[in-house]
């Protein structure tokens, strides 16, 4: 076995054990695409792990069933209850519940799959316009980490084809690109431009509101972020769950009364 093969086998082992980063996982999948027979190795290791874990779990169950039950004297239960009460009192007096940080709810990097391209080809009658092609080229440039070229292609769409759906798609993509390069103020403007143009496209609207909210948090504009996140949540799509969590967290941090809770009371 060559050293490269050994490295890949070690990567598969680490993947099965959940020890790989997102970047390493993507790189391993690129290896699988190059050499699909490696997927058989992955299947073998995953299958083996499952069988062995199940066998171990069954062993534990049978061990539990065989265990004898020993009765404790009554005073031990009283002592245990008293100890728990003392512990709770200490936690109430001295301890503070662990708090979640706002950063935990904010998107670090927007993945490339959020980029809008030409609509998927589902029919032979569909014709790709030049604006579609520019959007696709922008996506290719972005995937190849050529950000300057991607930005220039999106600006070309905005300058030449500022009609729907191209304008909103190009602004959304530009906003995502700027967000990923930490240019949050410019990304906010881009997302707002996408929102002012979008027509009948819930997915673009939802992405624009969601990433606008994230960009606003990164610039410390929490109240504005709260409004954007409500809009993302109300669109009731793929960002509903994270938008709801972020909304509650922002309300908490801003000291606002949680409307959903207070309505229920």
């Amino acid at each position: 076995m060559s050293s490269t093969d050994k490295d890949i086998k070690k990567q598969i082992d680490a993947y099965v054990k959940g020890q790989l980063s997102e970047e390493e996982i993507l790189s391993l999948w690129a290896e699988f695409a190059q050499n699909p027979s490696l997927l058989e190795d992955l299947e073998l290791e995953v299958g083996l792990k499952k069988i062995i874990e199940e066998a171990a779990a069954e062993g534990q169950v049978s061990n539990t069933q065989k265990a004898s039950i020993t009765s404790l004297p009554v005073w031990t239960w009283h002592a245990a209850a008293a100890a728990v009460l003392i512990l709770i009192a200490f936690v109430q007096l001295l301890g503070e519940a662990p708090r979640t940080e706002l950063e935990q709810f904010v998107v670090n990097t927007v993945p490339a799959d959020q980029i809008e391209t030409a609509d998927g080809i589902r029919s032979k009658e569909m014709i790709l316009t030049e604006a579609d092609s520019l959007l696709n080229l922008g996506f290719s440039a972005l995937v190849s980490e050529n950000n300057d070229q991607a930005l220039s292609l999106y600006n070309e769409v905005i300058n030449k084809y500022d009609v729907e759906p191209y304008g909103s798609k190009a602004y959304l993509n530009k906003g995502i690109l700027l967000y990923n390069t930490s240019e949050y103020d410019s990304s906010i403007t881009a997302f707002e431009n996408a929102l002012s143009r979008v027509q009948d496209n819930r997915m673009i609207q939802e992405k624009a509101y969601w990433y606008l909210a994230n960009a606003l948090i990164n610039t410390g504009q929490l109240e504005e972020a709260r409004i954007a996140v409500i809009n993302a949540y109300s669109l009731d799509g793929v960002f509903r769950k994270p938008a709801f969590l972020l909304y509650k967290k922002l309300n908490y941090d801003l000291g606002n009364v949680d409307l959903e809770t207070s309505q229920g009371n």
Partner: protein, 181 residues
């Protein structure tokens, strides 16, 4: 898998070669979507087909011809297509803000097939007891480094990896023998 052959087959409209390549890529994309996005088999199959149509179209237009770019393009497009298709699905309402928020991990068990698992169980049962003990220890203690396993069995780290690979090879051979029966 040579992606330059795939590009060439598209450009030359070599239907026979293209069909063979498409079958392999489709299988990889389906597994990718099943594992990484927890897609059902049918959704994954639809997305893989859409993705390949899009990629073939781009190759024909000469907008995509670098084999390395094609791999990443295939994965990102497949993921994009799947998430787009799933856009209408509602998420459950959460009553409380949890302590932390994480994305779902990969669903590696989705790669498994019940029939093949039964074969693997039989092969594991046929393994020599000392080898079975070794591989069981390896997978029962997933958080342990190879060094810990090596120490437990009194062997070097290199030998620990070699022994694991040897056992997997034996199991794979047994597995393939059963499948080909």
């Amino acid at each position: 898998m040579d992606y330059s052959r795939f590009v060439y087959a598209v450009q030359k409209n070599d239907v026979k070669e293209l069909n063979a390549q498409v079958d392999v890529i489709t299988a990889v994309l389906i597994k990718f979507l099943r594992v990484r996005l927890n897609a059902t088999f049918h959704d994954a199959e639809d997305c893989a087909q859409n993705t390949l149509l899009l990629v073939i179209e781009k190759i024909k237009e000469d907008k995509l011809n670098n084999p390395d770019s094609i791999i990443y393009y295939l994965f990102t497009t497949a993921k994009h297509d799947y998430l787009k298709a799933q856009g209408k699905i509602k998420e459950p309402v959460y009553d409380d803000v949890p302590d932390s928020y994480n994305e779902d991990g990969d669903q590696l068990y989705n790669i498994l097939d019940d029939e093949r698992q039964e074969v693997l169980k039989k092969c594991l049962g046929k393994l020599k007891p000392d080898l079975r003990t070794y591989i069981s220890y390896w997978f029962e203690n997933p958080r342990d480094e190879a060094a810990v396993v090596a120490d437990h069995f009194g062997i070097s780290v290199n030998n620990a990896w070699t022994k694991k690979h040897r056992i997997l090879k034996i199991l794979k051979q047994c597995y393939q023998k059963f499948i080909n029966l």
